[in-house]
Amino acid sequence: MKRVNLEIVGVGGQGILTSSQVLGAAALERDLDVYMSEVHGMAQRGGVVVTTVKIGEEVYSPLIGKGDADVILGFEPIETYRAIEQASKKTWIVTNEQPIVPFTVSVGTQEYPSVEEKILPSLEKSTDRLITLKAEELAKEAGASITQNIVMLGALSATEVLPINKDDMMKAVEDKVPERFVEMNLAAFEKGFDKTRELIESK
């Protein structure tokens, strides 16, 4: 089995740690080796969050080299763009389209490049393997915007890059989230999954 490298990027508070832990648990359940790197501490305070999840028969390091990501799962469009060096033509780039504006932009010292006019078109030009979705909107449809991390996991599952099938992934979500939120999170997973399948099939 070939090793699978995932880079999950976004902003502190988006539930990235939870989603990477769901992935790790699902992989371990299948007796696969998992090695992850997480971000704790200072950087969490509204800063950039980059976590990696590597799954395979034997995994030696927790970081991913340039171009070596099989999937970049981006929770925020410019954070996806910032991580683009980790991608090559074979990489699936699955990104949320909805920006979280950094305070450097709110206070007017820096500019946020237009997602519709710059970020997404430029990504589209450089790869065929781009999936963009409005994760927060889908999460709201599922019940609450905080489930957007699970929407993203559904989207990831739909790329079929993982050595873990959809049912096992959903089982891992079920195990991770508090019982009263299970239904909502599974709905969020399905939303992300279906939307992504639809996008892949129309390619």
Partner: protein, 613 residues
């Protein structure tokens, strides 16, 4: 977390490096744990906090790392296995105790976990703590993975007991904050019934005893040599006729190992687990027949220098690559790319991965920032208001409030380490005619804000001492401290009063204020500035992340009809929930927590809650 207490040998669990270290200590039967929180070591304490009582050990958050070291030392000399952990710079604080503790040594096993932070993800420097092992003659282990961190922690207790010396387990962020598969061994009962058998000739380090203890320490370190030679954590990977020999320890090893497997490289690796003392014979044997060796270790050339010295003895023609040769750097953490680049210069190896190169845009930076609702923002804003046009030096400290360094607050001008704001403020006040402020948090005050307070009162320093009391150790994840009324064991404790401590030290001006009340806070600072000598101001309001779990306020909105687009809110206050859209300012409702600070500073009362007129 409770799974760490399961006696289920052979079970495979996905653990954070820090959790794995806890499990290693539990498997060793730890009886005492102490720490002061610091990234990347904090989750060790967070984990013990949850399980110490059930396991039956003692755990405390000490006021600082030195106290943590001393309590753990007392446990170990009383026959109780102890562990103390801290971030790399925490060892600087604890080192005074540690250097002399090495002379006397310990009885039960004592393990010191020092968590380094190459690339300064969350630190003020990236010092290489391996040099402490040389400075203090401390046996040292360097784990590479969470599983090995568990194994080494456990074994470090045995080594410590065998040598009667504390043992250093030196980690880095990519071990502490990596998550990997860890296999459990037997859980042991806590070892917590100590008795201190007096031996003043050994444990009272007066000069005549120190003179006896120093040679004892050197003898014990001689005995550590064979332990290092036989360590199961040291191994040679692929000896068969390699094109390049590699010697490596710590997280850097992982990348060279990965590259070797991935590209099937003709490389042999000596992976070192115990790096003080170094396994000299094993290392000599490894380099004896080699032509070229690359030394892979993050930060300083700790191993490289030693390999150079050994090569002089056994293989003077050996070509040694690493930091000195320019193939690798002394800066920042390593990653797969940096290792591949070094390899590409030394062996026939091509990495043909083509990365995507979309158009280059200037992406806005996203530095960490004070959270929406953070009471520190109100404090800083009020200080600026009280100062008006008057210039001031802002002496800052280690904690969330350091983020005041950013636009638009700009309330950090000088920072060294925990507690440095206060001593430095005194120095600024004596050597300049500028108005001076010291900013530090409640936990930092208890850590190292008291001695400079006393020193400042005694020496007639003149500054405003701002102790920003958010009722927790916020930056590292909300650990308790002596002012919170709760211990690491979860028991109630007396809530130490910062104000009373300051008054007890002889400070005449001591005021407490709620920084959510901007007007009153500003007024207090105006008076504090006027006061001669040290004036202590305690802006007191719980950390927004804690308070938001308990209250539920409605978010605010900008009434666009009332707003005159003066941008005071974004240009002077700068909450991240206030978003500029061209000239317009809106409030991001998903971020706003409804604290109402910005509503108070709007000159046109345009910031309102829904339904408010």
């Amino acid at each position: 977390m409770k799974e760490l207490l399961e006696d289920d040998p052979g079970r495979e669990v996905l653990l954070l490096g820090n959790e794995a270290i806890v499990r290693g200590a539990l498997e060793a039967g730890i009886g005492h744990g102490s720490t002061y929180p610091g990234t990347p070591s904090s989750e060790i304490g967070n984990t013990f906090e949850k399980i110490a009582k059930e396991y039956g050990m003692y755990f405390e958050y000490s006021a600082n790392e030195k106290v943590a070291m001393e309590t753990a030392a007392a446990a170990a000399v009383s026959g109780v296995r102890s562990m103390v952990w801290m971030k790399h710079v925490g060892v600087n604080v604890a080192s005074d105790a540690l250097m002399t503790l090495m002379y006397a040594g310990t009885r039960a096993g004592m393990v010191i976990v020092a968590a380094g932070d190459p690339s300064t993800h969350s630190s003020q420097n990236e010092q290489d703590n391996r040099y402490y092992s040389l400075l203090g003659n401390i046996p040292m282990l360097e784990p590479i993975t969470p599983h090995e961190a568990k194994e080494m922690t456990k074994e470090a207790f045995d080594i410590s007991e065998e040598l009667e010396l504390p043992v250093l387990v030196r980690t880095t962020t990519r071990v502490n904050h990596a998550r990997g598969v860890v296999t459990f061994d037997d859980l042991n009962e806590p070892d917590n019934e100590g008795h201190f058998d007096k031996d003043p000739g050994r444990f009272v380090s007066v000069p005549q005893n120190a003179r006896k203890n120093h040679p004892r320490l050197l003898e014990q370190m001689e005995k550590a040599g064979p332990i290092s030679e036989e360590s199961r954590f040291t191994e040679v990977i692929d000896e068969n006729d390699p094109e390049l020999h590699v010697i490596s320890s710590g997280a850097g090893f992982n990348y060279i190992r990965e590259a070797k497997e991935e590209y099937d490289l003709p490389v042999s690796i000596l992976k070192l687990g115990m790096t003080n003392p170094l396994p000299l014979e094993k290392t000599k044997e490894y380099i004896e027949g080699a032509e070229r060796v690359l030394v892979v270790e993050e930060l300083e050339p700790f191993l490289e220098e030693k390999v150079k010295a050994l090569a002089k003895e056994v293989n003077p023609d050996l070509e040694i690559y690493g930091k000195k040769s320019g193939h690798l750097s002394r800066l920042y953490e390593y990653n797969p790319d940096r290792i591949k680049e070094a390899l590409a210069e030394l062996i026939d190896f091509e990495d043909d991965t083509e990365t995507l190169r979309p158009e280059q845009y200037d992406l806005p930076s996203r530095p960490p920032s004070l959270c929406p609702g953070c009471p520190h923002r109100g404090t800083y804003y009020s200080v600026k208001q009280a100062l008006g046009d008057k210039e001031a030096v802002f002496s800052s400290d280690i904690g969330c409030y350091t983020l005041g360094v950013q636009d638009p607050l700009n309330t950090a001008d000088f920072l060294l380490c925990m507690g440095s704001s206060v001593g430095a403020a005194g120095g600024f006040s004596k050597n300049t005619d500028q108005q001076v402020f010291a900013f530090l948090g409640d936990s930092t005050f208890f850590h190292s804000g008291l001695a400079p307070l006393v020193s400042g009162v005694y020496n007639d320093h003149d500054f405003v001492y701002v102790i920003m009391d958010n009722r927790t150790t916020a930056m590292t994840g909300h650990q308790p401290h002596p002012g919170t009324g709760r211990t690491g064991m979860g028991d109630q404790a007396p809530m130490l009063s910062i104000e009373e401590l300051a008054e007890g030290a002889g400070v005449e001006f001591v005021e407490t204020v709620d920084p959510y009340d901007i007007e009153e806070t500003t007024e207090v600072f105006e008076r504090a500035i006027e006061h001669d000598g040290i004036s202590v101001v305690v802006p007191k309001h719980p950390c927004a992340l804690i308070e938001q779990g308990e209250v539920n306020w409605d978010p605010y909105q900008v009434d666009q009809e009332e707003c005159r687009q003066c941008h005071v809110c974004t240009n002077k206050f700068g909450c991240i929930a206030l978003v500029r859209e061209g000239e317009k300012v809106i409030i991001d409702e998903t971020q706003c927590v409804g604290c109402g600070q910005c509503a108070q500073i709007c000159p046109f009362d345009a910031i309102k809650q829904e339904g408010e007129e």
